[in-house]
């Protein structure tokens, strides 16, 4: 389907029609019926009530979600709209946070008022963004990605080893220990020193940003960015100022990241080098890709999903429920027909008891360990093998086998797929009960990495994104 010579509304209505088919159709139709202003209003209302409904720890999580949403929206400008794969984004965030921390702490004795610090930090980050955009004049695609990745790496190395740089006398960054004791934002005599105050500050900024970005999206610049993304060469021939637009995208993204960085430094009351590693960059990308590149509500939704994941995984009870629920959904989506679903489930139960019986008849009861102390884990305890002494080594082999079987499931069709699913799911449960449930941070990494790969293959436009057309 090509959009050349098709009026934009017609083109988008075709896209909308397409999205009205498939399993997300009812949700999409419902969302599209509501005017966007109302949608934002409802979202705002629900989120504004959030701090009243949860404990202070919940508000802290809410702050993480909002920070991630702001960052993902900024990255969306560069990656989603202008189509430049920027892997240096987390360095802008770190630069903003460090700059703010240096001028508002005892590190070198500077205590700038917030209304001075914020504009200076944001402007400086924007300038840095403009500088990093210079290589994008010559480099595209993979080269730009790797170049910006070096930037992230260089940033971390400089921050950690700042003291040892030649010609440096004062230690600006505190090296690996970071900068503790950063002063919170103070605006008009109002100190943002509690979780609740910071939550509403972030919410206010998020709404401001959403409104601003919506206007940019519909503007001349927004359309030019999309032209750039779809076909740079063609855009250039249509006299679009390609280099200026690339720089503008980098500047806007960097400024948003810098601003978010200052709030992060103020909320965390300190900055540390390991806040700005590649892992966090992948987290932002996961939010962006999951929600949908280029779509503002999608990005916010993705940020909510991604930021809540570690919190859910940290609570073994909830994580267990979600894991098994996910398995059931997976079975239904993959197998589709109820005959197969029922036979796979029956086969799974039999397979589990068979493996357990075999293992216990070869060795004895002493190989068994204690199940995790959650409701679901106790339910499956008599069925799946929960090991004692050899838990680690066995679940390692099970993990490798599970991945291999999963790849087999993807590569096969029909009843073969159903048959292969039985050992796959069994091994998955074995690994979960023996290992993954106990290591939430690794599980999260596996999940985010997997999400990026799976989303690209299955639904590259994300949950709420629009399909892109690339003409070659």
């Amino acid at each position: 389907m090509s959009h050349i010579g098709v009026d934009r509304w017609v083109a988008e209505s075709e896209d909308r029609e397409e999205q009205y088919s498939g399993w997300t159709a009812p949700a999409r139709r419902l969302i599209d019926k509501v005017p966007s202003g109302w949608r934002l209003g409802v979202f705002l209302g629900v989120v504004a009530l959030y701090p009243f409904l949860v404990k202070p720890a919940g508000v802290r999580i809410g702050i993480t979600v909002l920070l991630l949403a702001l960052l993902a929206l900024g990255l969306n400008v560069v990656v989603g709209w202008a189509g430049l794969l920027d892997l240096g984004y987390v360095a802008f965030y770190g630069f903003g946070a460090y700059f703010y921390a240096i001028v508002s702490s005892d590190q070198i004795g500077l205590h700038w008022p917030t209304w001075v610090a914020i504009p200076v930090v944001v402007a400086a980050t924007a300038v840095l963004g403009a500088l990093l955009s210079l290589p994008s004049r010559r480099l595209v695609g993979d080269y730009l990605a790797i170049m910006t990745l070096f930037f992230t790496q260089v940033f971390v190395e400089i921050v950690v080893n700042f003291e040892r740089l030649p010609g440096v006398e004062t230690d600006l960054t505190g090296g690996p220990n970071g900068i503790p004791g950063v002063a919170p934002w103070v605006l008009f005599g109002f100190e943002f020193n509690t979780f609740n105050r910071n939550f509403y500050l972030l919410l206010f900024l998020l709404v401001l940003l959403i409104v601003g970005l919506r206007n940019i999206d519909d503007s001349r610049t927004g359309r030019a960015w999309r032209a750039l993304r779809e076909d740079t060469l063609a855009a250039e021939h249509m006299t679009t100022p390609v280099n200026r637009l690339k720089m503008l995208a980098f500047v806007v993204g960097a400024a948003i990241a810098g601003l978010t960085g200052t709030i992060f430094a103020s909320v965390q009351v300190g900055v540390f080098p390991n806040n700005f590693l590649l892992t966090f960059l992948i987290t932002i990308y996961a939010a962006l890709i999951l929600g949908g590149l280029g779509s503002i509500p999608g990005v916010v939704l993705g940020a909510i999903a991604v930021a809540f994941t570690p919190e859910i995984l940290r609570n073994p009870g909830v994580a267990g429920w979600l894991f098994y629920l996910g398995l059931v959904v997976l079975l239904v989506v993959v197998l589709k027909r109820w005959v197969r679903i029922v036979s796979v489930l029956a086969g799974l139960v039999a397979f589990g008891y068979l493996v357990r019986g075999l293992a216990l008849s070869i060795w004895d009861q002493s190989i068994l360990g204690t199940a995790n102390d959650t409701f679901v884990s106790r339910m499956v305890d008599g069925w799946v093998l929960v090991l004692g002494d050899h838990q680690n080594i066995v679940s390692n082999y099970a993990f490798v086998l599970a991945v291999a079987f999963l790849l087999g499931v993807i590569a096969t069709k029909g009843w073969w797929k159903a048959a292969l699913l039985i050992p796959t799911v069994y091994l998955g449960i074995l690994v979960w009960e023996n290992k993954l449930a106990l290591q939430p941070s690794v599980t999260r990494q596996l999940l985010f990495g997997g999400v990026l790969v799976v989303m690209m293959a299955v639904r590259p436009q994300g949950i709420l994104g629009t399909r892109r057309v690339e003409i070659t």
Binding site: Q153, N161, L407, V453, A457, P460
Partner: protein, 305 residues
Amino acid sequence: MEFFLQQTVNGLTLGSVYALVALGYSMVYGVLKFLNFAHGEVYMFGAFAGYGVLTVLGGPSALMVPVWLALALMFVGAVAVSSAIGVALERFAYRPLRKATRLAPLISAIGASFFLQAAALLLFTANSRSFDAPTLIPIQTGMPLGPINVWAIRILVIVTALVLMILLTWWVRSSRVGKAVRAVSFDTEAAAMMGVDVDRVIVVTFLIGSALAGVGGVMVGLVFGRIFHLMGFIAGLKAFTAAVVGGIGSIPGAMLGGLLIGFAESYTTAYISSTFQNLIVFGLLIIFLLLRPSGILGRPELVKV
């Protein structure tokens, strides 16, 4: 002079490893025109596979088989694991995206790299392991080279890398499949029309590139001792640097680039600063990318509409 020679041997060893890893980047870029971000992780898994074989054989101090056999089996294990991962990556993470937008395979590769890193963390934990090469091959006096003695293990690494590169060059030049690889990297569509099985060529490319990375992983373990789950990231970046400096898509270029980066790193560490060796190597790449993105031996690519 002694010190300089020692550093040269260091650079040569390191450079041979980078060259092996860089070949994988370069070959894949040649046929698919895309950067396999997960290549560094393939190399890391190769190193761990070698370590696994060594452990199964009784560990460096209590080997059950002769040393030469243990070394051979380590390389075989690493090649098997690495090429399996490489081929699986191609089949499941990249093949569905052949016709997708330019960003899609890149993002998929970043995701795959992250997934493999997490899998390594899960399987091997965050502890680093040591091959303990001095116990494994206790030959202190290798070849006397002027005023210095070169460790036997380094000679082994350099010679193995050299032999592999010569074999690869011959294979790409003269064998049937090698010619097909060159044809595909020159013009995929035309090659397909001439009856070249493009899918098969791509699989073979991934297979060979990943196998070389696995060999490189074991070599790093043997020479520099420690292996850990994050080792693939920085090494991958440097090997990519090597591929770019040499001219991406060019096989002799990748070898040349690998050696250059190896020397640059070794001399920087020795004469300038060990803290900032990474910064200096990356700085080199940035300058290279900006001034001559096509590399030393590469040809500039024209944008076609």
